[in-house]
């Protein structure tokens, strides 16, 4: 598994990062990502060229609970929340938007999930779409489905991901 990103590195200048669209994503990488790393709350991976941060994403473990199982489903499915990996943030610097870096970071994220899924149970991949445009992309193009409690929290079966990677092998 060759990743294009590197582990969060606090020595990299993050204050200049600007994704232009969502200021919260700039604030996160500049001010909060380090704390989340230190507290093991989430992991951030950076895409860096010539020492400049051009993109990042953050992931964490999450749970997916199911609502109102019927009798048949109770026999067939776990009655407890199931493990997932959450892509909580993904941002590209404005200087590199529109050249496919976002897709490469998504691919990098999926490879990490695939790697994790070999060592620990991951039933689902969960993403938080920042806006409706992103949500539509995840659903219409990548096959994610919307969660019940939040239309912008989207879910993909890890099994689908594994099928995809096996097809590449």
């Amino acid at each position: 598994m060759d990743f294009i990103t590197v582990d969060f590195n606090k020595s990299i200048d993050r204050s200049a990062f600007d994704c232009e669209i969502h200021p919260a994503l700039n604030t996160y990488i500049a001010q909060h990502a380090g704390q989340d790393e230190k507290r093991n709350v989430s992991r951030t991976f950076m895409y860096i060229e010539k020492g400049i941060l051009l993109g990042y994403y953050a992931l964490a473990n999450a749970s997916v609970a199911v609502d109102e199982l019927n009798e048949d489903q109770k026999r067939r499915m776990p009655g407890y929340p199931m493990p997932a990996v959450l892509l909580s943030r993904l941002a590209i610097d404005k200087s590199r938007q529109g050249v496919g870096l976002g897709q490469r970071l998504m691919s990098d994220f999926f490879r990490r999930v695939y790697t994790v899924s070999k060592q620990s149970g991951v039933a689902f991949v969960v993403v938080d779409a920042k806006d409706q445009r992103a949500a539509s992309y995840y659903q219409a193009k990548l096959g994610f489905v919307a969660s019940t409690n939040n239309p912008r929290r989207l879910i993909l079966s890890t099994a689908t991901l594994i099928k995809g990677f096996r097809a590449l092998a």
């Binding site: 953050a58 067939r76 689902f124 409690n149 929290r153 099994a159 995809g164």
Partner: protein
């Protein structure tokens, strides 16, 4: 990903909500137990059915008051459960429709063409 620290006032509210839910649960459970007991009694008592007994007005009033309490308790439970669902959302628990979850786990869809292309990117 920072989990918000619950302020003291929020904790107090949470405690009050929890107490209200506990009270409401007790009322509903008491009524449910009583209803079950009386239906079991009516099943075993043969001809001694409830309809055959002339209910005294005070009994009717007492039952009506009890039912009002149950309705109020159910309303409290409904509101609290909605609040809890919001909290679950707020703290990041994802809820998925059971039918969809079952399908995703047991008969996962093939990757879309776009996903397959994405996975091949380096």
């Amino acid at each position: 990903m920072n989990k918000p620290v619950q302020p003291k006032s929020a904790q107090l509210t949470a405690d009050k909500v929890s107490a209200a839910l506990s009270d409401a649960d007790a009322v509903v459970e008491r009524h449910a137990s009583k209803s079950l007991a009386s239906s079991a009694l009516s099943r075993t008592s043969g001809l001694r059915t409830r309809s055959m007994r002339a209910m005294h007005l005070s009994n009717v009033e007492r039952e009506l008051a009890e039912l009002k309490k149950v309705v109020a308790a159910l309303a409290v439970r409904s509101v609290v459960h909605e609040e809890m669902a919001f909290d679950l959302d707020h703290y990041g628990v994802t809820v998925l429709d059971a039918g969809t979850a079952h399908q995703l786990l047991d008969t996962p869809p093939e990757p879309t063409e776009a996903l397959q292309k994405l996975l091949a990117l380096r």
